[in-house]
């Protein structure tokens, strides 16, 4: 019973602290909320990219010769079409110097310079047409998307040119006489087919190029932003769980400095029991925190954490690891003042190594993934990624065992050190 009394007293004190509650619940949800706010408009719906506005300025020097169409003008019109993404704002400028200055002064993200021979080059096969793209060097996404859009435009024109040339050539080789009207009809038919193909690829429910997403156990979220959020929130749960474990263990130092620990030792309760009561409080706190954060994030952000059994296993092993590590860390501290920054530094450092702050990033170097194995946070992150992908309990068993094992080992060492110190 005294273990419960001591644990309950510690829990009461902790939950009355604005700081503790803030760090346990508000901070992880706030950070994930920021990420959600930042990226929530992206990749939603029909590939809608709600990116910040990219202002582009176009300098059109195109001077087609003969009867060649003014493809430079067409390009400008194409980029100013309503069907273009909202975030793409295109306007024309008269000269290159002004356009470059606009980029320098961040009035535009990209200056597109169309050379004088643009139309002629595009319509002849002699040499490729060339465009100059002067971009703000801090940008990468917008200019890349712009380049793709321009290539799409050019492909459309090239396709028509190639179709016209090849049809004409093949007809001649077959020895068939056709008139120019027939060739124009064929080119027009090609253009119509091309437009239909684009509609199929981008707006049809059954595109010719069907994109499938790999899934595990059929539980994967189809919403890309939820995938990012899930990984981010998992990182936050793990980070703040370890932080809470260590902060809660600080209560031993606090009581030592305030004199209440010595007073506890003058009561009939054995010292081992007193320490056990305090350790129990740490475990309960991190467990409650994990459960609350998982529930809150599921409600607020719609994150599907995976199968209940898998989640339960991971929550338990994570709580064990956080508790054990917190106790071990604090067993080496001499004072409360010393412990604060050490906790912050160590937990942050281990969080980095464990990949908690880059959870939403893909394509990290392989060496980085190896480093994560050295810290319990890395193992926890692996487990949660599997859970988010719908893994069954058996698939996370290794992770769970490693985490729990680490937690118990940390606890055993930390508890022994505390007992020796307070004997």
């Amino acid at each position: 019973m005294k273990i419960l009394d001591i644990a309950l007293k510690d829990l009461t004190q902790s939950f009355r602290s604005l700081f503790a509650v803030g760090m346990m619940f508000a901070a992880p949800l706030l950070i994930t909320g920021l990420i959600y706010f930042a990226f929530g408009g992206l990749a939603g719906g029909e590939g809608g990219n709600d990116l910040p506005d990219l202002n582009i300025v176009i300098v059109n020097h195109d001077r087609p010769t003969g009867d060649n169409p003014r493809l430079g003008e067409l390009l400008v019109g194409y980029l100013q079409e309503e069907s273009m993404p909202d975030w793409l704002v295109a306007r024309e400028m008269q000269d290159e110097t002004t356009a470059r200055a606009a980029v320098d002064q961040r009035e535009a993200g990209v200056a597109l310079i169309v050379p004088a021979d643009f139309s002629d080059a595009l319509l002849s096969a002699d040499h490729p047409a060339s465009l100059t793209l002067v971009q703000d060097p801090t940008l990468s996404i917008g200019p890349a998307v712009l380049a793709d859009l321009v290539r799409l435009f050019v492909d459309g024109i090239s396709g028509a040119r190639i179709a016209s040339e090849v049809i004409s050539e093949q007809v001649q080789q077959a020895g068939v006489a056709v008139n120019s009207a027939d060739l124009q009809d064929a080119t027009a038919a090609y253009a119509a087919w091309y437009a239909e193909l684009q509609r199929n690829l981008h707006h049809s429910g059954q595109p010719i190029l069907a994109v499938r997403r790999p899934a595990a156990g059929g539980q994967a979220s189809e919403d890309p932003i939820k995938t990012i959020l899930g990984a981010t929130m998992a990182g936050m749960v793990i980070f703040f769980n370890f932080f809470t474990g260590a902060s809660a263990a600080q209560s031993i130092l606090r009581e030592q400095e305030e004199g209440t620990l010595a007073r506890l030792f003058t009561t009939p309760a054995p010292r081992a029991l007193i320490l056990l009561g305090k350790f129990s409080a740490v475990f309960v706190m991190v467990l409650v925190q994990a459960v609350v954060l998982l529930a809150a994030s599921a409600l607020i952000f719609g994150i599907n954490w995976g199968r209940p059994a898998t989640v339960a296993l991971l929550v338990s092993s994570l709580s064990l690891a956080s508790t054990g590590f917190g106790i071990l860390l604090l067993s080496g501290m001499q004072s409360l003042r010393q412990s604060g920054p050490v906790i912050g530094g160590v937990i942050s450092g281990m969080g980095m190594m464990g990949g908690l702050f880059t959870a939403g990033m893909a394509n990290l170097p392989k060496a980085f993934n190896t480093v994560t194995l050295f810290v319990p946070q890395g193992w926890a992150m692996r487990g949660w990624k599997l859970a988010l992908a719908g893994a069954a309990p058996a698939e996370v068993l290794l992770t769970v065992l490693v985490l729990a094992g680490m937690g118990l080992a940390f606890f055993a060492i930390g508890a022994a050190l505390f007992r020796r110190r307070l004997a």
Binding site: R106, V154, I208, T227
Partner: protein, 401 residues
């Protein structure tokens, strides 16, 4: 003069505290290293292109051969043979960005005018999956275009009374594919260099984002120590004692602000020098501009520290407010990730943040290759924020009993 004495006392207290080194210098350096590592590729692979799996059940087909040849010319991706059994796992593990499966009879049936579906296994939520999808889609369009061109040619030949067979179609398709092989468009991409004489692309160093990002983030976090002094001074009775001297409240405020500014500036300076000599972020190409941004940032951070020090009732609250400030200003201001990649609303709010202007100032120097004029506006915004925070802090301080 007494304000200076007070400031010196504060600085001495901060520098004597070993944990100051942790917050002010060590953590920012470690985070910079880490974030630069994460942004960039520290071990550059020989071929940086995305790896895409290729499953061709249409062996020898005209269109599938042309499609493969087109993809092998890509600057974005390269192909690797794989199997259907391994495909899902390889994409899920990130070993392949995508897997394209060409069904049996693709070429023949397409040339006959049938609709044949191609299967692309890719995770659009990842940048690699998304990029792979776009590149593959463009190549597929070209391949299908060659097929359509061949059919139109065949139709015209047939309508002209000549015989058309499979060989005719294939020949036409191959001709169209060869025509597509010659690129119709080239891009010359220039990164605006400002007034820099450096012709090497400045934006490729990931530390040009990570270094100023961490300077900004830890400018806010680092003032925990300074704010803590104010709180402790109030708690241990030294502040009331100070106010019993002939020192005015204004002098007290000025002294504390000066100390916070000095600490924040010193921190920034150390991190700038580390960025310059360790991470190859070229701050010193424009030393005056760097100094202006650093000073304005330090002043804003100091005034924010003052505000936190006057608002917080205890040490715990100092840490809480400082961390909240760090998260908010860093995330919203583009210190963690460029605002280019976020939603429109987020970016719009972020651009008002002082942290965003600090980032702009540093990036104008590091990445845009610009000079002193380019940092004047960001510095002015930082100073305006500093004035606002300072005003609030003074008001709060004056209200205290």
């Amino acid at each position: 003069m007494r304000s200076i004495e007070l400031a010196l006392k504060d600085i001495k207290q901060i520098l004597r505290d070993k944990k100051s080194l942790l917050f002010l210098v060590l953590m920012p350096l470690v985070f910079t290293l880490f974030m630069g590592f994460a942004y960039g590729q520290m071990s550059q692979p020989e071929d940086p292109r995305l790896v895409v799996g290729w499953i061709n059940l249409d062996e020898g087909g005209t269109l599938s051969t042309a499609l493969r040849a087109d993809l092998e010319r890509s600057e974005v991706l390269r192909l690797e043979e794989t199997t259907a059994e391994q495909a899902g796992q390889l994409v899920q593990n990130g070993k392949l960005a995508a897997v394209l499966t060409i069904p049996a009879g693709f070429s023949e049936k397409n040339l006959d005018g049938e609709v044949i579906y191609l299967d692309l296994l890719a995770d659009r939520a990842t940048s690699s999956g998304s990029m792979a999808e776009q590149a593959i889609r463009a190549a597929v369009v070209r391949a299908l275009s060659a097929s359509e061109t061949a059919r139109l040619a065949a139709d015209l030949i047939h309508s002209g009374g000549a015989a058309v067979d499979t060989a005719t179609l294939q020949q036409a398709a191959e001709a169209a594919s060869r025509a597509w092989a010659a690129p119709a468009l080239g891009f010359t991409i220039e990164k605006a260099q400002g007034d820099s004489q450096n012709t090497a692309p400045a934006g490729d160093n990931p530390f040009n984002q990570a270094s100023p990002g961490m300077i900004v983030q830890f400018a806010v976090f680092g003032l925990i120590n300074s704010a803590m002094l104010l709180v402790l001074e109030r708690q241990n009775g030294c502040l009331p004692r100070l106010l019993t001297t002939s020192m005015s409240r204004a002098e007290v405020i000025a002294g504390h602000l000066l100390a916070m500014f000095a600490v924040s500036f010193l921190q920034g300076l150390i991190l700038v020098l580390a960025g310059q000599f360790v991470f190859e972020a070229d701050y010193l190409r424009q030393p005056l501009a760097t100094l202006i941004v650093l000073s304005a940032l330090a002043l804003w951070a100091a005034s924010l520290g003052m505000l936190i020090g006057t608002l917080a009732k205890g040490e715990d609250q100092v840490i809480l407010y400082a961390m909240a400030g760090m998260f908010l200003f860093s995330a919203l201001g583009g210190a963690w990730f460029p605002l280019e990649g976020v939603g429109r609303t987020f970016a719009a709010i972020g651009r008002w943040m002082p942290s965003a202007h600090a980032m702009t100032g540093f990036q104008n120097i590091l990445i845009r290759g610009q000079g002193t004029n380019s940092v004047l506006l960001p510095a002015a915004v930082l100073l305006a924020w500093a004035a606002g925070c300072f005003g609030l802090a003074v008001w709060r301080f004056q209200k205290e009993d």
